[in-house]
Amino acid sequence: MDLGINVFEMVIYLVGFIAFAAANAAYLVWVERKGAAHIQRRTGPKEVGPYGLLQPLADGAKLMSKQFIIPAGVDRPLFILAPILTMVPAIMIFVTIPFSETILARDFNIGLLMILAFASVNVLALLMGGWASRNKYAVISAARVVSQNIAYEIPMLIIVITIVLISGSMNLTEIVAGQAGGILHWNLLPTNGNFLGPITFIIFFICSLAETNRAPFDLGEAESELIAGFHTEYSSMGFGLFFMGEYANIVIAAALTTILFLGGWYSPLPESIPYAGASSVVWFLVKMYLLIWLVVLIRWTYPRVTLWSLLNLSWKILIPFSLFNLLASAGLVKLLG
């Protein structure tokens, strides 16, 4: 391929994905606020633009016009770096996510590995932010975030290994391609070799909630205990970036779940059915946004878990189940082989 075209394409994709990530982050805030409001029988934002659709822009303008306060005695470089470090890896990850057969910036052989690697940088950013803030609540929060993420990376990785075992590749496009041909071929169901099927999907989903620090695993920012956790001392866009980073990570988690379990851009119906059976980016987005809605709904339904029950859940339930599933699926793959 000609190098010139390649670079041009890259730039287009990069700009496109940054825009996509930012728009998603902004509008997920709107979805969350509107959703929470209606769950609670309120109306939510409705004054700025029709249905409050311009609210994210107003919020952004407000955040940007505020002063970025750096409290006395904080670790300046880390304090400034932390919010940037939550946002950058999130955008990097978007590069590897295939939204359909054609909408894909870079087809990596080890795309899955790269996503997981970059996703863990987020924890580092939160730790840095909490540590640099010189606030006891923020430090407690940072410690919580780290132990929580370590505990949940294990079952998550075990399940990812299972999926890799089934599809025989770390390339996201190939993982999706292995699920072509309707819902029966998705990794969601044992028919494709994933022994515990839906249970692994739930485990992965729980882990991604914990990894993105979403309720009920939002121990890091538990507002009734730690005020705002690691971002207590952040104002202006420093806070804004943490906030956007959180939503960007949710989008990534939902996209990854869609790719690994829900057959990516493939329709749940067999391909022989016209229109509804065709694979397209629409299916991908539908699945992804349904998952995101579930994430929002969960946040507004459950109380927060404590650190111990969170670790108990991981070590006593999720890890045994996922380990068992790894072994059983290995056998099943051999059988189906």
């Binding site: 006891k136 009734s224 927060r304 029950s309």
Partner: protein, 372 residues
């Protein structure tokens, strides 16, 4: 878990919880000595909202002290109103017409439900669940609307007068109350499904913050805290006042002593309140709502008087010493959550921070009442 031995060699640090902190719901400050996430010691620091209510009682006439009652426990103001007017009626020997007694009980119980609903929402909020708060507010709003139509205020009521009530109630109010009883009966199962049965909530509450009956006695804890520790003590039954002896209701008691027990006591109490309201509305007689002869200047005979009522959070008692003048010589208010908070220091040792805050929420603190 929470009884794990605290390591000695790790560095301990102090953490100031409040006076501005989302979980204290007011200006309470708790000085925490922490070992990691464990609470080594917790010392509540009071006084941020002290308004000298007791002294105010000593330099104004009996009637002028009435509005102060709504400002103590602003969430169940009517119980406090009731306690005070009953005390003065006892002192001055004023007879209250029966209809007024019924109105008092109905409105007080409505107020008790609204207080418990608010606690329920705020407590779940402490645990990180936001939505139940707004559902509870939806129901509470109905109560406030009903009470506003009668008392003219929504929060700091000043509705009872010596010898009766400020005004009569209409049939609209009574039928509105009955409609509310019906409504809440359908809502409570929803709350139980959404909150009580939720596995995360159960994990956070069951076995957390055990308070023994012994500890309750030691610190004088009353109300749902005491009843959640297995002691059946409710002034409405034990030292009956007003028309409570004529009404049939149960006192919910849970022996476990943990946060879940306190939670359940309050949830069940709401159901009992509904029963009381229903019966009182069925029995309410016609007649005047003010006693015929209430002296303009109340001058009780010199002496030492005491009266206690069961407020939403426990025993609210007033001791007033009169020297025969139009105002009290000494006024002492005994508020329930002051005692309930006192046991926090002992009970919270060795708890996780998150559990400690859940425990604090289960005590149902109202700060202006602790700091009178």
């Amino acid at each position: 878990m929470s009884s794990q031995p605290l390591s000695q060699n790790q560095e301990r640090f102090e953490l100031n919880l409040g006076p501005q902190h989302p979980a204290t719901h007011g200006v309470l400050r708790v000085k925490l000595l922490m070992d990691g996430e464990y609470i080594v010691d917790a010392e509540p620091v009071l006084g941020y909202i002290h308004r000298m209510h007791e002294l105010m009682g000593e330099n104004r006439s009996w009637a002028q002290y009435l509005p102060n009652m709504g400002r103590l426990d602003y969430l169940s103001a009517l119980s406090y109103n009731l306690g005070y007017v009953e005390l003065v009626e006892k002192m001055a020997g004023i007879e209250v017409p029966e209809r007024a007694e019924y109105i008092r009980v109905i409105t007080t119980e409505m107020n008790r439900i609204s207080s418990h609903l608010l606690w329920f929402g705020a407590f779940v909020l402490d645990l990180g669940g936001f939505t139940p708060l707004l559902y509870a507010f939806d129901d509470r709003e109905q109560i406030l609307d009903l009470l506003e139509a009668v008392t003219g205020s929504r929060l700091t009521y000043c509705y009872y007068l010596f010898g009766g009530c400020y005004n009569d109630v209409e049939d609209d109010f009574l039928s509105g109350c009955l409609a509310f009883v019906k409504r809440l009966r359908t809502r409570l199962p929803m709350y139980h499904n959404l909150v009580t049965k939720n596995v995360i909530l159960r994990q956070r509450l069951e076995g957390v913050g055990p308070v023994s009956a012994e500890m309750c006695r030691k610190y004088g804890a009353t109300g749902p805290v005491l009843r959640g520790s297995g002691i059946n003590y409710d002034l409405r039954k034990n030292e009956p006042y007003s028309i409570y002896p004529e009404l049939d209701f149960d006192v919910p008691v849970y022996p476990e002593g943990d946060s879940m027990a306190r939670f359940m006591v309050r949830m069940d109490e709401m159901e009992q309140c509904l029963r009381i309201i229903e019966q009182a509305i069925a029995k309410i007689p016609e007649g005047p709502v003010m006693a015929e002869k209430v002296p303009k200047m109340i001058k009780p005979a010199a002496g030492d008087y005491y009266h206690a009522v069961e407020a939403a959070r426990g025993t609210f008692a007033i001791r007033a010493v009169s020297d025969g003048a139009n105002q009290a010589y000494r006024m002492k208010l005994r508020s329930p959550t002051f005692s309930n908070l006192s046991l926090f220091q002992e009970a919270s040792r060795g708890m996780l921070l998150a559990d400690g805050l859940a425990f604090m929420g289960s005590l149902d603190l109202v700060i202006p009442e602790i700091d009178r």
